[in-house]
Every structure is written in C-alpha cells, then in structure tokens.
C-alpha cells in the first residue's frame, strides 16, 4: 500500500517535472532573451509573456486544479486518478519553471554574450552554446526546486482523489485514525524531498566551473 502510493507520487512528480521543464524552459528562454537590450529584444512580447506567467503563478493550486478540470478531462479522458493529476501539476509548474529559467539565464555574464556576438554568433547559437551551458548548474537547481515543490503539490492533488502519498495520508492516516500510516507517509515524503535535493545539488556542483 505504502509502496504503491510512493510509486504513484514519483510517477506524478517526475512526469509533471519533465513536462513542465519541456514547456517552461523555452518559455523562460523567451522571457530572458526578449527583454530590453537582450539578443531577441521584443518588449511587447516580453511584457505579455510576463503577465501571463504572473497570472499563472498567482492562482492557488487548489483552485487551479478545480478550474482546469474540463481541460484535464479533454486531455486524459478523466479528471480523477494519478494520470489526471499530472495535468494540473504540470500547468502549475510551467510558470514556476519559466521564471526560474529566466532568472538563471539572466545571471549569465553579459560580457560573455557580447563576446559571442562579436564572434558572429546568431541568437540561436548564443542560446544553445552560451546561455544554456553557462547557466546549466542553475538550471539543474531550478528543475530540482520544481520537483521538490511538485511533491508538495502532488500531496494536495492526492487529497482530492489523485492517488499517491497524500491520498494515502488523508484516507488512512486522517479519516481512519491510522497514525502510523500518517507518520510513514510523512517520513517517505521527507526522504523524497531530501533525496531529490541531494541529487540535484550533486549534479549542479559537478557542472559548476565558475569562481
């Protein structure tokens, strides 16, 4: 029971992290590079994207989950269960990833970007050969932070029928007064968070070549 719930949580979190990264990364790149004086300066687009991302981030997860039920149903065919929970988790994480990516890319030394420009690099070349490699440690930490946050969100999703550890804790631990199950789920959640953070830190550290 506990094992199944853990697997469900891992499935939800990893799927949502991967999907949110796939969509959030390009969005973050756009946010960073369309800024004033950056390589793809597009101020109107930048402001519009920023507004949408802020809107996404300001909706509480519980409300977002309920609000997009029709959308979830359209994609997954149902709004209940572990797979269905991936949709709101992903949608909630996209703006979060986008902002973190934007922040990471803005930390890249403008001098290095300028050096690449002086060598005749095109904007896509600057993105793939300069911005992403230079920001890679920060990007890994951004994905790590996203995964950790999603563990928390997934427990919430579980509470309304999404499966996973949150679901288990509510149904057994809380509604059936099984204190032991409650404690076990919390311990597993802590281990998951610690584990993900540790792996993320390790990878980022390995990639870090800046003094």
């Amino acid at each position: 029971m506990l094992w199944d719930a853990t697997l469900e949580t891992l499935f939800m979190v990893s799927s949502a992290t991967v999907l949110a990264t796939i969509i959030g990364l390009p969005l973050g790149i756009l946010l960073a590079t369309t800024e004033e004086n950056h390589i793809l300066e597009q101020i109107v687009l930048n402001k519009a994207l920023g507004a949408i991302v802020n809107l996404g981030r300001s909706v509480p997860f519980i409300i977002l989950m309920v609000a997009i039920i029709p959308f979830t149903r359209k994609i997954v065919g149902t709004s209940i269960g572990t797979t269905a929970a991936i949709v709101p988790l992903t949608v909630a994480a996209i703006p979060f990833v986008a902002r973190l990516v934007e922040g990471a890319l803005k930390e890249v030394d403008p001098g290095v970007i300028e050096a690449a420009e002086s060598m005749g690099a095109s904007p896509p070349e600057i993105i793939y050969k300069v911005l992403i490699p230079e920001a890679l440690p920060a990007l890994v930490l951004a994905v790590t932070l996203t995964a950790v946050n999603l563990i928390g969100y997934s427990a919430m999703a579980g509470a309304i029928g999404g499966g996973g550890l949150g679901d288990l804790a509510i149904r057994f631990g809380y509604q059936r007064f099984r204190g032991d199950v409650m404690i076990q789920t919390v311990v597993i959640l802590i281990i998951l968070v610690q584990g993900i953070q540790m792996v993320g830190d390790k990878i980022a550290h390995k990639l870090y070549h800046k003094n």
Partner: protein, 332 residues
C-alpha cells in the same frame, strides 16, 4: 583598413551622453593603432562601433572596404567573423575548457572536428598554453585567461584584432608579456591591431600610431613618436605631463643661465651631441634632469640642462643642437 566618417554616437537617457562627436579617423592596415583617453572619453564606444556592437547614430564606418553600418543581421555576422576582439575581463565561457573556448568561434564558422583540433593545437602553442588545454577558466591566472582570449580571437584568422583595455586587469609584468605577444602576432600574422587603453605605457610599448580622444572628440592622430615628442593638443600635453615628466619644474642656478629642454629621437640618442657642443662652443652644461626611453623600437630621450656662458655662444649652441635634429625648447 578602418575608416570613420563623421561618426556620432549619443546615449539617450536621463542625461544624454554625447559619447562620440564627429569622428573622422583612418586606421592603416598591418599596424598597431592605439586609442588613448581618460575614463569616459568614448574609447570603448569608438572601438565597439568598428564591429557594430555599438551602432553609430550618424556617419559611416568602413572596415576593409565594407560599409558596416548598412549590413543586415546576417551580413553583419559574416563580417564579425573576420574581426577578432579581446576584452578587459576576458569574457571566457566558464563552462568550457581552454580547448572549448578556443574552439567556440571555429564551431560557429562550421569547422570540422579534425580542423578544430589542429587549429586549437596551433593556437595554444602560439600563446604558450599547451599544458593548459583541458583547464577551465577558473583554474587560470588573469594573464593566462587573456592568452586564451587572444587565441580565441585569432582562431578564425581575422584580419583585424580589437583590444578593449586588454591589459587593464593585469599586473605590470603580465601586461608586458601580453603586449609582447600582441606585437609578435602583429608581426607574424601581419594583423592590424587596434588597442584601447588609458595607459600611456601601453601606447609607448607597442603602438605605431595613436589617436587621442577626449570628451568624445578626437584630439589628435599621428605616429606615437610625433605625438609624444610634439603633442599638438592641450589634452595630449596634459596626459603626457605626468608620464614623461615634462612638467618637471627646474630653476636655473643663476639668473643669467639658459634653461633648455632637449628632446632626442632615434639615432640622435646615440650621438655624443652634448659633449661635442660643449667642446665646440666652450660652454658649461649642467644636467638637471634626464630620461632615456623607448617608443616601441625607437629610442627617445629628454634632458633638462642649463647653459652658462656668453650669450652669443649660447645662441650658436642652440642653433647647433637644432641643426643636429634635437628638439630644443628654451624655458626661460
């Protein structure tokens, strides 16, 4: 090689800064050309206009026959690949090794893996970093980083190298070694080099010609030896005062004595002109101050002397010195 025609550049903002004011400049091919000026004079803006990192508001910039300011983005990228640039803070990619950094412009140029390997090998040996090929920038000293910067700038075999304060972050000894490397490259590869600096000594050590910039105005342009020994503009004179100690204040020991500042250039520094003069005109000479120096390869000397003796003999002595190609200024 590079022509500036009526170039203006202003930065709009709370206080509009007119960084370049009607610049007309011709930078010859194959030489080391220095641009000197105080902080905020517009030097960086000027050099960044050459590869359009900064676009002029008005005027034309022509590099090797190509009008730079009218190129579209794609054409500009092609031209930029023919111009190398090095920076005060090196601007290396921290995520790449020395090899990777030097390979970067070659990747952009679409070189094959083998080609990149061979070229990088040649370049690291040119800049003397063969043993650091796999080091990351964080593991290098400032001087070594700038050598990587130079190798990277030379990778695509540009005809022009732009250096914006390339030695300003380095200690004097490292500065000398980097300047020597630049001079070697200039001679070996027949490469035109433009050097921006606020240090007179950089101009003195390796430049052939120099332009003086102040407040966005080009003050004067000429061979280094001419500008240093015979500065025309007030700005240049002021900059040189401290450097050549031309403002050295001396008083003649007797009021009747004549105080002279003599400037010798090139061969003249080898000739025993003073002792010949003393013998020929039976004068007494007292040396108050002197220095002998070098402008790139040209020796250069300055003496502050006082002459005592009869008036006519002194006049004749001064004429003698002038006829021998010594610049003479009578200071009292």
């Amino acid at each position: 090689m590079i022509i500036f025609k009526n170039v203006d550049r202003t930065f709009a903002g709370k206080d509009t800064v007119h960084a370049l004011k009607n610049i007309n400049l011709n930078i010859p091919e194959g030489k080391i050309f220095g641009i000197i000026g105080q902080s905020g004079a517009g030097k960086s803006t000027l050099v960044r206009c050459i590869n359009m990192l900064e676009k002029p508001d008005r005027g034309d910039i022509i590099v090797d026959g190509v009008l730079m300011n009218n190129l579209d983005a794609k054409e500009l990228r092609i031209e930029r690949k023919k111009i190398g640039m090095i920076f005060q803070h090196f601007n290396l990619l921290n995520s790449r090794t020395v090899f990777g950094n030097i390979a970067f412009p070659l990747e952009l140029a679409g070189a094959s893996k083998d080609e990149i390997k061979e070229k990088v090998q040649n370049l690291v040996s040119l800049v003397g970093l063969t043993d650091k090929l796999n080091a990351y920038p964080e593991q290098l000293s400032g001087g070594q980083k700038q050598r990587v910067g130079i190798a990277r700038a030379l990778a695509t075999e540009p005809k022009l190298l732009l250096c914006d304060e390339a030695t300003s972050a380095l200690d004097p000894e490292t500065t000398t070694s980097v300047l020597k490397l630049l001079q070697e490259i200039n001679e070996k590869l027949q490469l035109t080099i433009v050097i921006i600096t606020h240090e007179m000594s950089v101009i003195q050590e390796i430049c052939d010609k120099v332009a003086v910039l102040e407040n966005g105005f080009l003050q004067e342009v000429g061979p280094v030896i001419d500008v240093f020994t015979n500065p025309q503009s007030v700005a240049t004179q002021r900059m040189l005062q401290g450097f050549l100690a031309t403002n050295y204040k001396a008083q003649p020991s007797e009021i009747s004595n004549t105080l002279l500042r003599l400037t010798f250039v090139d061969k003249k520094t080898h000739d025993p002109i003073i002792s010949q003069m003393v013998r020929a005109y039976e004068l007494d000479v007292n040396i108050l101050f002197g220095r002998v120096d070098q402008m790139k390869e040209t020796p250069f000397g300055m003496l502050l002397i006082e002459l005592s003796g009869n008036h006519e003999k002194k006049e004749n002595a001064i004429t003698y010195l002038r006829n021998n190609g010594v610049k003479v200024e009578v200071l009292n």
